[in-house]
């Protein structure tokens, strides 16, 4: 049922039927529940959803950084390494040599909180050179050169002096630039950006976004861009997946998703975004809150909040992700009556 990925090039990463569960005292929390997607080289893939829909856990699983008690319970994360051989990251030792050789090297990540993402007591240069020394070269001089180039690339003025400084000398936007420099320093094939602009103010957001977009086209990376901000997705993404309760509910090209949304959730998400030039008495919001994914009945996750739900259908079975139009997938009984087979 996964969206096929044989389209243009071969995907850098292909996630198949991934489930990540957290064993809590209250029960099993299904943070990611049967997720499938693929990202090709040079593609900017946007993953969008409300807080708690499983976006961050998805990103963490690709790096095998899911915090305890979270566990990948099923699925594959097929990553095509530089040498061309394919590794299933879901089935390697989470702290082992194999994943560590990929982390920071072939897959790099930028985090949401630039203020706390850097160690306060190590110099920028020290932290920047670390991954380079680990993956690229053993020579400190060479690592220093690469780190310097990267600081320059992300637009940090006076990089020689900045290398000696500490995070508290940097503003939030500058720290996020350092994080980007760090992520790019080993020329990753896949860059995961987990809400990298959420903690920044709007003018800085635009600069960081621009920086990521430029870096992507320069290095021809695959980028997984995670956000809850539709504006960002519209601006930079090629492919978009809308996530709700650990599942993709709609996936397609950014154009399709924005101009021709099919899932009621996507439609409401778009309606809740204010538009310039459109007068509104009050902003639309989606009724209700995201349920906590513990012990939920077999039903469409959006059922309780959906104004268009079909009684007797939506609340008793889970719709399957179906290709409604070309390369446009939706998980909704309004568009296709096929249900997901109980596993």
């Amino acid at each position: 049922m996964a969206p096929p990925s044989e389209s243009a090039g071969r995907p850098v990463i292909e996630v198949r039927d991934l489930s990540v569960h957290f064993a809590l005292d209250e029960g099993t929390l299904k943070a990611v529940d049967g997720l499938s997607f693929a990202i090709e080289q040079g593609q900017m893939f946007g993953l969008i959803g409300e807080s708690g829909c499983g976006k961050t856990v998805t990103a963490q699983s690709l790096m095998r950084l899911v915090p305890t008690p979270g566990r990948i319970v099923q699925g594959q994360i097929n990553f095509r390494a530089e040498k061309g051989d394919q590794i299933d990251l879901a089935n390697v030792d989470g702290t082992g040599q194999e994943i560590r050789a990929i982390r920071g090297n072939e897959i790099a990540m930028i985090f949401q909180e630039p203020m706390s993402s850097l160690s306060p007591i190590h110099s920028i240069g020290n932290q920047l050179m670390e991954a380079v020394l680990l993956h690229v070269t053993r020579s400190k001089r060479e690592a220093y050169k690469i780190a310097l180039e990267m600081l320059d690339l992300v637009g940090i003025p006076n990089p020689v002096q900045r290398m000696e400084e500490y995070p508290h000398h940097f503003s939030g936007g500058m720290r996020q630039r350092v994080m980007i420099a760090m992520a790019l320093s080993c020329r990753p094939r896949l860059l995961i950006a987990d809400e990298p602009t959420t903690a920044l103010d709007v003018t800085v957001q635009a600069q960081i976004l621009d920086l990521i977009a430029r870096a992507q086209s320069q290095f021809q990376m695959a980028v997984l861009y995670i956000t809850h901000d539709l504006g960002i997705i519209a601006e930079i993404c090629d492919q978009v997946a809308v996530m709700y309760l650990g599942k993709i509910v709609e996936q397609g090209s950014a154009r399709n998703i924005f101009h021709h949304p099919l899932h009621p959730y996507t439609r409401r998400l778009l309606a809740s975004t204010p538009r310039i030039g459109q007068h509104a008495e009050r902003l639309q919001s989606i009724e209700g809150t995201v349920p906590i994914p513990i012990g939920l009945p077999r039903a469409c996750g959006f059922c309780s909040r959906c104004p268009d739900r079909i009684e007797g259908t939506c609340d008793s079975s889970v719709p399957a992700l179906v290709e409604i139009e070309e390369k446009h997938y939706v998980r909704c009984f309004l568009h296709d009556e096929r249900a997901e087979v109980a596993s």
């Binding site: 790096m63 950084l65 702290t95 560590r100 050789a101 990929i102 982390r103 920071g104 090297n105 790099a108 990540m109 985090f111 909180e113 706390s116 993402s117 850097l118 160690s119 306060p120 007591i121 190590h122 110099s123 670390e130 991954a131 680990l134 993956h135 500490y166 508290h168 994080m179 760090m182």
Partner: protein, 334 residues
């Protein structure tokens, strides 16, 4: 960095002066002065008071003069001659009428040795256990270390000292009392004396370290648990660093800082804590002397000990501050 250190040392000087004044006020607090007590004592023993001796002492300590003159005399005697006054010591103790400076000089090294050695032992045991406990939170080993730690914290030191003395004596017939065996007690320092001390010093060190270890395990565990969940640890992990390397480079380093800031308190805490242990184990340390000096209103002795200990505390704080400035760039102001 150098500027901060120089500035801190300059701040230390007025602090030390203030400290000496407060100590002197403490000395002067009880009614009467050293001389009147001395004369009273001699008279009560039916001895003739030597007038020339009295006037010599009066001259030396400025007795009978205004308080500030007495203070300046006391400070001058201390700075120039290392003289802090004399102990009243009228109760037949080993420090009868001895110069205060001699008593302190005799006992301070042993106190500091025990304090420093037990601190090293505490750190060497508590820090690895604390790190293990934090990285294996809620594991059986974690609970076990907490349990043993609390027992160590709960047993009164003096009781623990008595139990160890009893066990050692019952098993080997060797009485662990005092820091030195009889033949070395008054001998000058030598390698043989140090070896002899090592045979005895482990008992007070063990006793004092048990309580300290329990506390420090808790502190280290809590500090590290705070750091382990910070984002920068995930960043380091996302670079591909191995767990062990990132643990030592980032969270452990940062969790150390609050512990370094307590170096300054070690000595006074030890002097307070070891007094009972020293009495039980018959150790020649500062704690018991301070206790008896205060009980007997032996004010030159008590005041001077307080001054020296406070001065050492200030210096300890200075050392820990410099260590922190060196360890944590956030503290260096530009």
């Amino acid at each position: 960095m150098l500027r901060i250190i120089v500035r801190r040392i300059f701040i230390l000087i007025p602090m030390l002066l203030l400290l000496s004044m407060i100590s002197f006020i403490i000395i002067q607090l009880p009614p009467g002065d050293y001389l009147s007590t001395y004369i009273l004592r001699l008279e009560s023993q039916g001895l003739v008071v030597d007038e020339s001796e009295i006037s010599r002492l009066e001259q030396r300590y400025g007795l009978g003069r205004p308080l500030y003159t007495q203070y300046f005399r006391w400070m001058r005697n201390f700075i120039v001659n290392g003289d802090l006054g004399r102990s009243f010591g009228s109760y037949g103790s080993s420090y009868d009428n001895k110069p205060v400076a001699d008593i302190i000089a005799e006992r301070l090294p042993a106190t500091m040795i025990i304090s420093i050695v037990s601190t090293i032992v505490v750190w060497a045991i508590a820090i690895p256990i604390g790190i293990y406990s934090a990285t294996h939170q809620y594991s059986l080993t974690d609970y076990l270390s907490i349990f043993i730690g609390f027992i160590g914290l709960a047993i009164p030191n003096f009781l623990f000292a008595i139990i160890i003395m009893w066990i050692v004596f019952a098993q080997t017939g060797h009485a662990v009392t005092g820091l030195f065996s009889l033949e070395f007690k008054h001998a000058p320092w030598s390698i043989a004396k140090v070896i002899d001390m090592l045979k005895n010093v482990w008992v007070p060190v063990l006793v004092l370290a048990t309580a300290g270890t329990a506390g420090l395990i808790r502190v280290m565990r809590a500090n590290l648990l705070d750091e382990l969940n910070k984002q920068y640890v995930v960043t380091a992990r996302a670079k591909g660093l191995s767990e062990r390397r990132l643990l030592w480079k980032y969270p452990v380093r940062i969790a150390f800082n609050p512990i370094f800031s307590t170096i300054g308190w070690l000595l006074p805490a030890m002097v307070g804590g070891e007094a009972l242990v020293s009495i039980v184990l018959n150790l020649q340390t500062i704690g018991p002397v301070l206790l008896t000096a205060v009980l007997r209103q032996d004010m030159y002795l008590a005041g001077s000990i307080i001054m020296i200990l406070s001065a050492l505390t200030l210096i300890g704080t200075l050392i820990s501050d410099i260590a922190l400035v060196w360890l944590d760039p956030r503290i260096r102001y530009d």
